[in-house]
Amino acid sequence: MRTAAGVAAPALGGGVVKLRFVVLAVAVLIAWGLKRHYADARAEDLAWILAPTSRLAGAMAGTTFMPEPGEGYLSREHLFVIAKPCAGVNFMVAAFGMLVLARLHRIGSLTSAARVLGASLVASYGAAVLVNAARIVGALWLAAHPIVWSAWGAAEIHRLEGITVYFGGLVVLCEMVQWLGRRAVPVGRTS
């Protein structure tokens, strides 16, 4: 059997199909666990993602975000707080699910299953920090230039910016994964 790309596709045994279902189930559990943790967490509990995001956003915007107990990370210079709702955990969950689905066809063994889950988790975390930092830098710029957007309210602009940056981030991440997949070994030759 050959795929549209002309690559020989391996015959899918029942074991591989079962393994892929297990991987999907594990991915759903991880995503659910992340959402539960996010729902119950205080800002301090989210330091694992808020701290690197605030450091990166601060470096990109040329400002300093300091921990503010119970609030998140505050830039006194800009009077801007990176609070719990801005942590980017939802983006991380979306990116993680998308990456697992995008790489699911590559899973043929326990090793490749662990690799797909691990790489998706790490990549979604890195992407969440990077994309969220970019979104915060954009929000800082928009807050400093309110006259440009006077026709719309600040909340609407903040929401539109969030949707644009997060969705754009997912598209770019998906394109990168597809591009890396095309460069990698064909499906039939994975471990």
């Binding site: 959402k35 979306a94 689905l101 929401r159 949707i163 969705f167 754009g168 998906c174």
Partner: protein, 68 residues
């Protein structure tokens, strides 16, 4: 007329997975988790539903303008 249509179709096929992931986390999960379907949520949901496809269409329009 078929060329812009096929370009738009291709763009939506390429962005289907990010779009589905985004909708799942921003809309499906909150609804499944019991988020109240208030007016504010429905307004937010409408914006979340409409903006990403509009961005895809905008990107197609820009690409068509740059590479006719």
């Amino acid at each position: 007329m078929s060329r812009p249509r096929s370009r738009i179709g291709r763009a939506f096929r390429r962005t289907a997975l990010p779009l589905a992931s985004y909708y799942a986390v921003t809309l499906a999960l909150p609804v499944a988790g019991g988020a109240p379907l208030s007016g504010a949520f429905l307004e937010h949901a409408l914006v979340v539903l409409l903006v990403p496809p509009l961005l895809v269409l905008g990107a197609c329009a820009v690409r068509s303008a740059v590479t006719p």
